[in-house]
Symmetry: C2
Subunit: 252 residues, 2 copies
């Protein structure tokens, strides 16, 4: 398979048609996978915001104060309020906010970035990245798949890697259950998160978080003849780490 | 960049020279990254083992009994003993064993697989996968990098993805600290785990866990002019999830 970045994208503005911006700069073909950094999807969807739009609740004030007490960082309570509004579950309240977004992705600060949009403080993630991916896919002139990507850290391992937060035109995972390896043994590991692996591959060529070139294309990769699943995000019941975090409090 | 699987590898046996097996089947070039599934590295290093080699301690008996009580699965205490011997920290004892290997990787059952080696029950991970990667790299006829890969699950997200457990010829991560995006803003996410992203890309073309074709090559990818780090595995202090798991017990 081939993985390449799409160069020359302009600064994206609210209302821009991301599919057209991409196809103006490179030929997308049937069966390509187009990986789009969430930053430009958010910009096209007018998800830049100001801290002043998030007057802090008492809870946000308390969270910010506790983080400021426990760390060297002075936390803005309006930022904590933005995280609360973008999420439906806090996995950690200190020493940093780890939150589950309404669409299921778990990330530090619910994936909210300090904005690089001039004149705005924050860049929120797309509200429903899978719907974003579907819209971009529909606006392409060919039958390609689209993945909206982000970068995120993880437990157990240092550093960030590309992950998928929305996808269209393909399942999130490929299911090897019941298949056998070349020795005839049934495969143990059963479900492969291909949209995450594709997002990781894309991040290798786009530069950190798509900050360099926010779009990559994977060509000549085949999903193959497998079952698929769109259950990329774990539910609470199957997520022992979430259960453990819920029962735990950081003491500094 | 290009990612392709190396076809036609034979069943690997103890003592085999993995580098030669690979170069007999494909031209490896300077600056390629050769990604080798841990299964064949383990086979070459004679890491297949039998359950009978792990007479269970009292602790292993207790762990197996508790898992059997809590789940439908009858856990073999000798298997629990093997996990204990391959690890130096248990993050979870039930409903399954999540363990940190001696070389730092956190995985279910310390990465021990039921063997697909005829006549053996288990396949252990390489003892020191970074040393394995170094040996393979030294035996290549060109100046390529080598990554030993595995697949593993993760919190928050369903499914498995390729990860690195050892590497040679390149750093594990690339460091973007202090660099700026195209708008002149300093990058927020700072360290990118490129060996994990490369392993994820490789897993897309090799088939599940390298069960299809256990070797992949990444060509024409550049690390670039960045700092690097080999601190892929988090230490306990920086790993809040490990701290939370240590304070928690699964109740079923």
């Amino acid at each position: 398979m081939e993985v390449f970045a799409v160069p020359g994208l302009p600064e994206v503005r609210p209302g821009d048609d991301v599919a057209t911006l991409i196809e103006d700069r490179t030929d997308i073909r049937d069966d390509d996978i187009v990986l789009v950094a969430s930053t430009i999807v958010s910009k096209a969807e007018d998800r830049a915001a100001d801290l002043s739009a998030f007057p802090p609740s008492e809870r946000a004030e308390a969270i910010a104060e506790r983080i400021s007490d426990l760390t060297d960082e002075e936390k803005d309570p309006r930022f904590a309020q933005a995280v609360l509004e973008e999420s439906d579950e806090l996995l950690l309240e200190s020493p940093f906010l780890l939150a589950k977004t309404r669409f299921g992705h778990v990330g530090v600060n619910a994936g909210i970035d300090r904005s690089n949009v001039p004149g705005n403080d924050l860049l929120l993630l797309p509200k429903a990245p899978t719907e974003s991916a579907e819209r971009i896919r529909e606006n392409l002139s060919v039958d390609a798949s689209v993945v909206v990507t982000d970068t995120s850290g993880r437990p157990f391992r240092n550093g960030q890697r590309g992950v998928a937060i929305g996808w269209a035109g393909m399942p999130a995972s490929r299911d090897w259950r019941g298949e056998v390896d070349r020795d005839g043994h049934e495969l143990e590991a059963t479900v492969e998160s291909v949209v995450d692996e594709l997002s990781a591959a894309a991040n290798l060529v786009t530069g950190e978080g798509g900050g360099g070139t926010p779009v990559a294309v994977v060509r000549d990769w085949e999903f193959g003849d497998h079952g698929g699943s769109d259950e990329l995000f774990r539910d609470h019941e199957s997520d022992l780490v979430r259960q453990a975090l819920a029962a735990w409090e950081y003491e500094g």
